[in-house]
Subunit: 252 residues, 2 copies
Amino acid sequence: MSPEALYAHALSAPAMARLNKLSPLSRDQQLALNAAFANPRNVKAQREIQAEESPVLNPLILRTGWAGRVRHFSDGRRQILGLLLPGDLIGIRRQRHPVAATTIVALTDVTVCSAPDAIAVGDELNEAYAISGALEEFYWFRQIVRLGRMTASDRILDWLLELRERLALADLLMGEYFPMPLTQEAIADTLGLTNVHVNRTLQALRRQRIIELANGCVRLFEPNSLAREVEFRPAMISAPMASNWRADEAPH
Amino acid sequence: MSPEALYAHALSAPAMARLNKLSPLSRDQQLALNAAFANPRNVKAQREIQAEESPVLNPLILRTGWAGRVRHFSDGRRQILGLLLPGDLIGIRRQRHPVAATTIVALTDVTVCSAPDAIAVGDELNEAYAISGALEEFYWFRQIVRLGRMTASDRILDWLLELRERLALADLLMGEYFPMPLTQEAIADTLGLTNVHVNRTLQALRRQRIIELANGCVRLFEPNSLAREVEFRPAMISAPMASNWRADEAPH
DNA sequence: CGACAAGTTGATGTTACTCAAAAGTGGTGG
DNA sequence: CCACCACTTTTGAGTAACATCAACTTGTCG
């Protein structure tokens, strides 16, 4: 492999890993994905990836970086509906003339690639897309429960547990740590809080040695007991997916 | 038509109307749906229609009544993630071994029927299912914005506007009025509030002559200006769906 | 008539928001 | 290397929105 190819491979590894865990892919399917990854579009932080109400053309796959679905109010408030992490799919629709329901904005620098057509490429990829869609729905459910019924600190903890679970799917955990590049303002817009309150709540969680958060990296001191406390529900979306990926079984 | 058949038809008309508006159905498809509607399962209020983590078998269609997706906490709190209204579909999944991500509970007495297999029955029905799925996602987005960034009274108003829009799809508006059979407690669990606060907010809205709400019927005095005030976004999910159904064009 | 659920009211407490300013951080160009 | 800028994080003081607890009223149905 040439150095550039190696570099490209390292960048697309998380996305590949994620899809492969959702449904083990054949060699051909992996090649098709790699071909797609070789042709990226770079989007700078804060730029739109997709505009609300624009027709959805070809589906995309997020190769690197974090993005978010956003809604804005005329007075400047905004809500980040949910996050998109490496390996997440954008705009896979079943209807004939889909229209984007929300803006999608890059929260960090991001690269996206067009997602291979699953029908053409094969069943397992199709299944991976389907499970990815089901997971996305599952994450909406969690988000609604967080916003509707949790206190600020529980929202943050539940949300961090979700990030950990999702990043584990893409092999993006680094031992006990995982990346979290968002500003406190973005966290606030995600969790329905103000940046000030997020700041204070984070400080409290740090003081109590429940989390560590600095330099875009998070560490949860006791993820399992934390999960019990906030009644975090691990994603259980598909019968056989059971044990082949869990955050608990992350590399040391 | 026999009297019983007529009665059954009246009960299933809203569900039929909804699907037919999402994608105009052929005669055969309507017959297939009617056949499905002729074989209902009745569920009493407060009973479960689907249990969390149970495997999803055949998809269902809600013929009459209101249901909700629910999550419970161990201390008794609950969040109603979203509502299911007549004509809504339950458990249409693309993956191979789907598992229910949430409990679904009947909020009123309800009848559900198994949804005809769209692949077998035809493209338009399949398209109707697809658009129904996209709308469902759209409603999740609205719910998240409500919970994350709206005050109690805006939540209620935005939510009533959504109900109006959705009931219009199923021809369930009655002039300026529409049915709303939920208790204030259920409203509270939907909107992330307490029943007490819902009660007080509703009273304020009544006093200001913004809404009328009694006997399970709602009237919004000025839906259009209300929609502007809370920045309500009409569902725009599919390019051609444009004008063939809108709450604004409801029968007087 | 009595029982139970739903709606209403009052008093009080808490969580989170607002506004404003200070302190820290990182990147850029002279 | 430093000065400057923009952005992010942090701090403080005051306030508003919503929750909690408990009692009371109304309505419904057997």
